[in-house]
Structures are given as C-alpha cells and as structure tokens.
Symmetry: C2
Subunit: 348 residues, 2 copies
DNA sequence: TGCTTTTGTCAAAGCGCTTTGGAACGGCGT
DNA sequence: ACGCCGTTCCAAAGCGCTTTGACAAAAGCA
C-alpha cells in the first residue's frame, strides 16, 4: 500500500493525502479525518526511503558507542539512552549506532557523519580538551553534546547539569553541620563531570580553609562494588572522614554497605550526600537510611536532548544553544551534625 | 556531486557509471578504472536514500538494546558489537538501535521491524522459552540470533558456540586430574548460555556419580568484583572445592584475586578453567598463572553474524541456517592434579 | 564478404514521496 | 452581472539512484 494507491482509494490526489498526513493547513479538516481513517484501516505506512530522498532528511541521529569497559559498565548510560529513545520513538526517529574502538572515536564519528545515514550527531562522556569537539565543529552537521569539556572553547551546543554547583552546595551543607573531614567518591577522573564535581567541592572547602588531599578522593567506574571498596579504605584511615560526597547513588549503595559493615551509623557517625540520577531501580528515599541527594534526572536529560536534536533537524527551533540545569539539593536522613567526638578535631 | 554530474564529467551515461561502481561485468575494465579514479578525485558518494529507494534495501540491521543493568554492565557485549561493527563498516552497512525497556523487548523489536528502517534484525542474550522468537518468526523479515533458546522449537537461524560441550570437556579434564569437589562461577541464571554450561558440567559430573549442589554455583553478572565475592564464599566452605569452572575470564580475574588473598596457589591448591571470549584487554596467557581455558572469540562471532546477516540481505547466500561453533580447550597452568591432602575425600 | 554473437554503452522508466505552481470553486463587493 | 480573493484541490516536476531493453561497435564464423 503506497501513497498512490491510498489516494486512488480515497478519490483524492497524492498531494492532498500527503498534506493531510503531514499536517499542512490548506486541507479541509473533514478531508483530513477521512484520510486518517483510511490510514488506520489500510495500515498504510509511508516509505521511509522515499521520504528521505524527497526531503533530504534521514530521520535519524547518530552516535558512536565506545566499546571501552569504562562506558559499558555503566547503568547510567542505559538510563540516559532510554530517555533519548523514548522521545525518538515519539517522533519516529531512530538512532544509528557505530560501535568503535575507544582509540578511534574521532574517526568513527567522522565516518558516521559522511555515511549519509544521519542528520545529526550526539556525543557524551566528555573529557577535558575533548578532541571530538573540533571535529564536530568542522563538520557542518548539527550536533549536541551531553556534558561539557573543560579546556575547550565553550562555543558548542550542549546540555549539562551544574555539577560544580551541586557539589558546592552539598559541601556547604555538610560544612554547616560542622563537618571538617571530607572524602569524595567520584567517577572516572578524566571525565568532565567528575572534574567539575571535584572542583565544586574543593571550592566550598577552600572557603573555610580546608583542602581535599588526594588520598581522600576515589576515582572509579561507578559500580556499587567499587564504591564499597573505596569506602572501606576511607573508613580505615586513622582520622576517618565524617562527610562523604558521592557521584552516584550506585557508588553510595556500596559505600553504605561498607559503613554498615564497619558498625557505623549513617547520618550519625558518617554523613553522606550522593548525586541522584533518578535511576528507577535505585531510589534514595528507599535506602534504609534515606539519602540526602543532589538530584537531576538522567532520563529527562535524554528526553530533552532528543527533543532539541530532532527539533533542530526539523527546523522547529530555535532552541537555546546551551542549557545548564540546576540540581536540587534534597535533604533526607543520611546527613547529620558532626559527631560530638569528632568535633573541633580540625580538617584534614 | 551526484551520479549525473559525475557521469557528465566523465562523458559517460549514468548507467555505465552506476554499473562500474557496483561491479557489474558488462563494463570495460579500463572504463571502470577511469570511473573509480574520478570517484576518488571528486569524493563522490552515492546518496544512501536514493539507493534505498531504488533497491528497496535499507542497508542496515536493527537491534534493540535492552537498558537493563544486566546487559549494560557487560564488557562482553561491547566486544561482540565491535565485531559486528567491523564487518558492517566494511560493507557500508549500519546499525539501527532501539533502546528499550527490558519489559518491552518484544514490542520494541516489532516497532523496529515495521519502522522500515532495517532490512534484518539481530537478537542476543537469549533466555529459555524466549518470547522474542515466535515474534521474529511471524515477521517475514530476516533475522539471526546469537545463542539459542532452551525450550524453544529449534527452527530459527542462529549462531552459537557449543556451551555444553565446552564445559563438559573442561569438567572431564578436571575429573581426570582427580578432582572431586567442584564449583561453578556462572553468568546470569536465566540466560541460555549459562544454563547450557551448567548442564554440560553436570553431565560430566554425573557420569562419575558426582553432583553439583546449589550452593556450589554462583550466578551473577560477569564482573571481576562479583567473581571475587563468589569465590571468597566458596573458599570459606569447610570442604572447599578444588576445581572451579568459570564462565568468563572477567569472573576469573576476581576469583583468582580471592584465591591469592586466601594464601592459596592457583594450579596447585585450586584448579580453575575459565571460558575465554578472547577479550583484548584480558589475555589468559598473561595471568600470573596462565589460565586453562575453553576458547571462542566473541568478536569473531560478531563478524560472522554480520556477514551472514548482510549476505542474507544482499542475497549472496546461501548460508547455513544454524551454526554451532566448537570451542577449544587450551591447557595452561591453572589446572593441576588434585592436592594430595584433598585426595579421596569424596565429592560434594 | 555477409552473417550472427558478443561487448560496451546509452536513454528512459521507475522507486514513493514532497512540493511547486496553478486551476476550480464558491463567496464577496461593486 | 463582473472581477477579485481565499480556500481547496490537483498535475507534474523533481529527489538520485538502479535496472530494463535497445542499440551501435567489435568480434567471430562461414
């Protein structure tokens, strides 16, 4: 069943049917209804290839999937992709994926761009001075990045959350509660978001004349096991930290296991604030001690990025080039005043 | 630059140029050379959409990417995808990916099929009685599965490795070395390959009148941390197992850490055989005690699957419908005779 | 030499859609 | 009655490629 057959069936011209389908104003509402009805009955679906040829739009956005262990072992990426996918399906867009050796991300991105299969590109997992950025800019194809890249000219379209602000605020809260000995469970060190969170934390600390020694930071892939291991190390320190910042609720899950196994009480002996990406299977309010968090939905970011990308392709715009989402600081029970015994002991 | 312009430039007809490009025989070799040369100089690339429209082929294969934590936290999938991608790039094919809620895999697969964006479908991570299979069969679109599905009618095209055989052989080797107390570090219980490996192991054991109690099996996502945890549990048993089978070298990595930390010697106190997917960053011969393995390259499987899928689409066939790859049993130093002290103690 | 094959090339007809430039029609004012 | 406008629809021209059917030119055969 194609447009021609459908239009013959309806006794209309192809033009009219096409316009009815694509929401053009110059077609009678009654006619449009009739067309829509016929589409339902016949199960007509426009041929994608023909649409692509006629419009010059592929209806797809490209992304290269790095096959490095770092990226894969990451439920966060899955959650984000789900958001992207949700919105894409809604507009009948799809993703073209190119698996690539992590050493050849730039090349893979270029190949994807010139393949003619995509209208726009998307990248994530930004690093400092990210080499993909100059490449994308030279490409004359719309693109959007999730996150930012420290050290790069900030003249590219992005969506990011205010990582510095989030961890700055979280640190301030803990400082106000009297804590002076801090530690950080962070994501992989080379990733932009991890750097920014660290910076935000350090900024707040230095306002009080405190610093954060290297051995009080852990940079790992964000799994619960690694969170536990790192936390165990912190807890074995002679002057163990009482205030922990944590880049993910997944890391926090492990960290809290370590706290419990050490016979300590979360929110009393140890205060912890985690960043909450709103993962559906891991709700901070359901932890045995509900978690104080900085919150920003990863899935919502995916939805928004898909929206902007698709909007740009369809030229629905204009969209803001750069969006920086504030996070919410939600106080629950995992934070409390510094324990009496640890007061006035001075910072690390 | 399009075909028309290119042909005018060359003083040839579009037909001839098109034929020269697509390897048809009825064009003079000298002419073909000339065309190819011009393509290089002008950087001409055929318009994908037009090709799709003219040929009816999309030049792409679809896969739904489950966003469940299980699948993501899996370097194995990345390695496999790399193989697929390698071969796809070679033929200028691409993947269309649809991220999907794990509860809606079947629906996502159907949407992908009717979207008109793909010529063929690919699925992996098969489970028993997999509900995707009947759906795919009803679809009149070529598909290929990696793995098999216990409990399903075996009338679908697949590529799988002989998981039963691999673990049967591995178990026999350990039995011949005198071991009687076994344990298994396996992948997620509901996945077909894990079931088959367990079955192969149990088959070999029962030939000697041995069995494998539930607490001597661990079913987890295949990360090194979880391998370590599970192994620690095995080693704390009053009659600790001396022979370990392991579904991945990644699990083995953690397991061996546990062995070392318990002050035991691999290949002497404990023998271990792991399945080796030939992950580039984890070579069994580079372990401090080189690992005895059952080997089958996951990347090679990816390449082969892409070949078959692309071949089917291009009707290059015929390909065998079902392929079952034998694994190699490669003996290195992580296996040795049962320790003297543990001899004749009887199986679990 | 005249005849049939083979070889190398071409013009033109799609593939199924979007979109441009008009045309038919009714309602309005004069 | 006429001309003019806005609305609603249509015919036809692409989009860039593949492929069919035909045709010259070259080659093989008698």
């Amino acid at each position: 069943m194609n447009l021609k057959q459908l239009s013959e069936l309806l006794g209309l011209s192809q033009t009219t049917v096409s316009r009815a389908l694509n929401g053009y104003p110059e077609v009678n509402e009654a006619t449009r209804e009739r067309v829509l009805q016929a589409v339902k009955e016949t199960g007509y679906r426009p041929n994608k290839a023909a649409q692509r040829l006629a419009t010059g739009k592929a209806g797809s956005i490209g992304l290269v999937m790095p096959t490095a262990p770092d990226h894969y072992s990451d439920v966060h990426f899955g959650e984000f992709l789900t958001g992207l996918g949700e919105e894409a399906v809604r507009h009948d867009f799809h993703f073209v994926i190119m698996p690539a050796d992590p050493n050849d991300e730039v090349g893979a991105l270029r190949r994807l761009a010139i393949s003619g299969n995509v209208d726009a590109l998307f990248v994530a997992y930004m690093r400092g001075h990210d080499p993909r950025l100059p490449m994308l800019k030279s490409l004359s194809m719309p693109f959007l990045v999730h996150g930012r890249s420290i050290g790069s000219e900030p003249d590219y379209p992005y969506l990011d959350i205010d990582n510095e602000g989030a961890f700055y605020d979280a640190t301030r809260l803990l400082l106000q509660l009297g804590h002076t000995r801090f530690a950080l469970l962070n994501g992989p060190e080379h990733l932009d978001f991890a750097m920014r969170r660290k910076n935000g934390m350090i900024a707040a600390l230095s306002e009080r004349g405190l610093s954060l020694p290297d051995d009080h930071m852990s940079h790992t892939t964000m799994t619960d096991e690694l969170g536990q291991t790192a936390m165990e190390r912190f807890l074995q320190m002679p002057e163990r930290p009482t205030a922990i910042l944590c880049s993910s609720t997944v890391l926090a899950l492990g960290a809290i296991r370590a706290v419990n196994q050490a016979g300590l009480k979360l929110g009393e002996d140890v205060s912890l604030i985690a960043h909450d990406d709103v993962l559906p299977h891991l709700k901070p309010e359901n932890f045995s001690v509900p978690l104080t968090t900085t919150r920003s939905s990863l899935r919502a970011a995916g939805v928004r990025i898909a929206q902007r990308l698709i909007g740009t392709i369809k030229q629905d715009g204009p969209f803001p080039e750069q969006e920086l989402w504030k996070t919410e600081l939600i106080v629950r029970s995992s934070t409390g005043p510094v324990p009496r015994a640890d007061q006035n002991l001075g910072g690390v």
